[in-house]
């Protein structure tokens, strides 16, 4: 038999399973309220989103993306409006940013000093795309060459970062790193 307190005798059920007994306490009020609350909330929630006018997940995503894309365009416009490439190419701060971006994102394909690995040598005077000028390099970085394995960076790097990386790559030209990959593309003298 269980150890029963005096005030429990009233609600003790007349039953015994392997000496286990049961009281018949009422359901706790707060517990019942929680249960009813979640049920009522659920009914309204389902009705609003699935039967009523609530937005679908795709609609919510579309709206969120519009906001993000507007921010992107605005930031790009600002960054491109007052770019001074020549100054940037000599700005040590920008070059430091460019180097850290390059080491993290580009070295895996173009090798640590730009000598080329999976992607082409960036330190030589041969170019598959463009003429090796900074605006042209920036263009390739932005759009990439997806079918050849060069990812587009426009939506990944912030505009200032992309410009800094461009300056960094531009400064690599002609540095003659060891173990260069064979030249690809047209030779262009700056």
């Amino acid at each position: 038999m269980s150890d029963i307190k005096d005030d429990e005798k009233e609600i003790l059920l007349d039953h015994d399973y392997d000496n286990i007994q049961e009281l018949d306490n009422p359901l706790p009020k707060w517990w019942l309220l929680t249960f009813y609350g979640t049920i009522i909330f659920s009914v309204f929630y389902y009705a609003y989103y699935e039967l009523g006018s609530g937005p679908s997940l795709s609609e919510e995503l579309r709206e969120d993306m519009q906001v993000v894309e507007a921010k992107m365009r605005e930031a790009d416009r600002k960054a491109e409006a007052n770019i001074d490439w020549q100054a940037l190419a000599k700005d040590p701060e920008a070059l430091a940013v460019g180097k850290s971006i390059y080491d993290k994102n580009c070295a895996s394909c173009h090798a640590a000093q730009g000598q080329g690995l999976i992607g082409p040598n960036l330190a030589d005077n041969y170019w598959i795309h463009g003429d090796g000028s900074m605006p042209e390099i920036a263009k390739i970085l932005k759009k990439g060459v997806l079918e050849k394995g060069m990812p587009p960076w426009q939506e990944i790097l912030k505009p200032e970062e992309l410009q800094a990386t461009t300056a960094y790559v531009y400064n690599m030209i002609g540095t003659n790193p060891p173990n260069p990959k064979a030249p690809q593309g047209e030779k262009i003298e700056l």
Binding site: Q21, E22, L61, V68, G149
Partner: protein, 722 residues
């Protein structure tokens, strides 16, 4: 009157067997857990060895924890308590023995096949089809034994613990059978009949309810027996038992889609998953309340009795995780927490806290009863408790912190509309220290467990050798007819079959309403969207991806969230995975999503990355896969694979099926040739040639990776909507 008494004895030998098996497998599961925890912190522990690599060890750990440790604990508790609650011996000793040995053999089969890479990749249902059949057979034997015992009982009414056992037996059978409908390709490989969203929905209906009906309902049954026994107190509220039992089994079954929020699953199913999870909160807490308030008036035992400590901690963790579960099911919370370590923390507060602590309490309760010998040391029991508790707390706090930290980093978008942390590895590096903390938590838990093993060893050594079964007396059930004024539920408790039927109805309603509509997958894919199936070589690569368990670290599901679209590309649609057997949406992102990785990198990138991830991505913690560069592709099996897939409805032409091996080797030839040239360009000494490469598994895997996200042509649809 006295001649009406019947005498009988209980089969405690089988309980002892299950109990010892519980202890042994617990050790295995915990050690595997510590290994994989450390592998994530320190990749070198993958040992560059195929059958020790994380992708294969993690399923082994989860299976060992759920089916070997918790499974045996459940059976030990059920076999012990059922006989006593029904005042009768188990229906058939032979069935009990077959159940025991069959189950251990199944575990052994899992322990062999999973490291070898034979896996269906469906979480907690990884075992291949012959083992699935064995599980079904053993489960039927267990059910027969249980229902036979119920039929022969000497107690008219079924106690609440038995209700939970009945719900367990029925539902696990339904879940296992429906989720395991698969089409064999060979002795140890199969494809599920379900594809894409169907497979995802069925799998998470199963996966979630494995937690519900394998790790919750049976343990609630055990709680209802062992807590009143250990505390010698009456159960708090019979009424609460009724209400929370029925609401729990009815509502639980609907909640599966909360694993799939923001995915390509249709919105209505996601919303059902969320709201039923919310409604589950109170029914779950009903169990906690009944467990804790049963101890009302016996709280002093908490100070002195280690068994009560374990049980109170278990029920408290149950309450915690069943509050956190509904919280995580809220869409906006899931957006942050899903795919992160938060979920891993959540699971372990349930597994280590609720299942583990309750099992330990039960073991300490049962050993003196079964072996007629007091536990060797009460002090060691108390130490076990504190080590265990500290271990869980370290585990839980570190993983929730890691999960929320990484989740916040993944979603951070700055004023320029770009991701603040576009570099995935950076978000991993941030939480690696927490992986070490987690491992320390696991080790503490394991130390506590070792104290228990030592304690049990000393106890059993001192136990008396002769153990004759005791004889009990009771009147047959007929001697105790139903009272005329009994209420309807009391009457129902006297009818085993009607009760079981009702429980079955309670779980089948939600199952049908959720699963049936998605079986017609074509309905969800617009007419003008064209989807190509994988080429034979890509499909072969896919099977390698499944075999290596890449899905334990990589998802293939870009959720409908702006941060995911920025990081991984267009949100995944139903069409993207409509021929995927099995689906590979994943549940945890230790690495980035791969749904659209096709074409993102050149073949050479993948070649170098799979050989040594750190050669390409500094600080990566992905394992290396050197064996893929040696093992050969089995081209001949591609025909069999395509035949099966064609039978399952994938639109391959007969010609493609007939020439599958040829098509595969041609594609492999092309990839190998261009890779070999590029490798020569880089290093003229490179020994790799097109010929040496073209039949290696790595080529098939690269073909598959490059195909991901490239198979759907929805240009007409996009034009139409613009």
């Amino acid at each position: 009157m006295s001649e009406k008494f019947e005498t009988f004895s209980y089969d405690d030998a089988i309980v002892k067997k299950f109990l010892l098996a519980t202890v042994i497998w617990a050790g295995v599961a915990f050690l595997l857990g510590i290994l994989i925890a450390l592998q994530l912190a320190f990749w070198q522990l993958n040992f560059n060895t195929e059958w020790l690599t994380f992708g294969r060890m993690r399923p082994l750990h989860t299976n060992a924890a759920i089916f070997a440790f918790a499974g045996n604990a459940i059976f030990a508790g059920i076999y012990y308590s059922t006989q006593r609650l029904l005042k009768t011996r188990m229906y058939n000793d032979m069935l009990s023995k077959i159940h025991f040995w069959g189950w251990q053999l199944i575990i052994l089969a899992a322990a062999i096949t999973l490291p070898l890479g034979f896996s269906q990749s469906k979480e907690y249902a990884e075992l291949e089809w012959p083992i699935d059949i064995a599980i079904t057979v053993i489960w039927v034997i267990f059910s027969l034994n249980l229902f036979g015992t119920i039929a022969r009982r000497r107690e008219r009414h079924l106690y609440v613990a038995i209700w939970f056992y009945i719900a367990t037996v029925i539902t696990v059978a339904v879940l296992h059978v429906i989720n395991s409908i698969e089409y064999p390709v060979s002795l140890l490989q199969s494809y599920p009949v379900y594809a894409g969203i169907q497979d995802a929905l069925v799998q998470w209906w199963y996966g979630h309810n494995a937690v519900a009906f394998f790790l919750t309902t049976p343990f609630l049954g055990l709680m209802y027996y062992f807590i009143p026994k250990a505390a010698n107190r009456p159960v708090y509220s019979y009424r609460l038992s009724i209400v929370h039992f029925w609401s729990l089994v009815f509502i639980y079954i609907w909640a599966g889609p909360h694993h799939l929020l923001y995915t390509a699953l249709p919105d209505w199913a996601q919303t059902l998953g969320m709201i039923f999870s919310l409604m589950l909160w109170a029914p779950s807490w009903g169990g906690m309340i009944n467990g804790l308030l049963t101890l009302r008036g016996a709280w002093h035992l908490l100070r002195t009795e280690p068994i009560i400590k374990f049980m109170v901690a278990a029920v408290t963790f149950y309450g915690m995780s069943t509050f956190e579960g509904p919280l995580l099911s809220i869409k906006s919370v899931s957006a942050l927490g899903h795919y992160t370590d938060w979920i891993i923390g959540h699971v372990h507060s349930g597994a280590l806290g609720w299942n583990g602590m309750l099992s330990f309490g039960m073991i300490y309760f049962l050993i003196p009863k079964l072996w007629k010998q007091e536990m060797y040391s009460k002090k060691l029991m108390t130490y076990h408790f504190w080590f265990g508790l500290l271990g869980i707390l370290l585990y839980y706090i570190s993983m929730v912190t890691a999960g929320i930290t990484q989740g916040m980093m993944w979603r951070a978008i700055d004023a320029t509309g770009r991701l603040v942390y576009p570099d995935f590895v950076e978000t991993v590096m941030r939480i690696v220290p927490l992986y070490y903390v987690r491992a320390i938590g696991g080790v503490l838990y394991f130390i506590g467990f070792c104290l228990m093993v030592y304690n049990i060893y000393k106890t059993l050594k001192a136990a008396p050798k002769d153990s004759k079964e005791e004889v009990y007396k009771a009147m047959p059930m007929e001697a105790n007819p139903e009272k005329p004024d009994a209420k309807w539920h009391r009457r129902l408790e006297g009818k085993g079959f009607a009760f079981s039927l009702l429980a079955f109805l309670a779980i089948i309603v939600g199952s049908i309403i959720e699963i049936l509509p998605t079986l017609n997958i074509d309905k969800y894919v617009p007419q003008n969207v064209y989807v190509d199936p994988f080429t034979p070589l890509e499909q072969t690569g896919r099977d390698i991806y499944v075999k290596e368990g890449c899905y334990v670290c990589h998802s293939q599901m870009i959720r409908k969230l702006p941060e995911e679209v920025l990081r991984y590309g267009k949100a995944s649609s139903i069409a993207d995975s409509m021929y995927d057997r099995p689906f590979q949406w994943g549940s945890k992102r230790t690495g980035p999503d791969l749904a659209r990785v096709g074409g993102k990198y050149p073949d050479l990138w993948h070649y170098r990355h799979m050989l040594d991830p750190r050669a390409v991505t500094q600080n990566s913690l992905m394992p290396a896969y050197p064996w893929l560069f040696e093992k050969k592709i089995d081209f001949m099996s591609t025909r069999k694979k395509l035949t099966v897939l064609q039978n399952l409805g994938v639109p391959y032409t007969d010609e493609e099926v007939a020439n599958a091996d040829k098509l595969a080797s041609e594609q492999a030839e092309r990839i190998a040739a261009s890779l070999a040239t590029e490798l020569k360009n880089l290093d003229p000494q490179s020994p790799v040639t097109a010929k040496s490469l073209r039949d290696k598994e790595i080529v098939a895997l690269i073909a598959y990776l490059q195909a991901l996200g490239t198979k759907v042509d929805d240009s007409e649809l996009v034009e139409a909507s613009e």
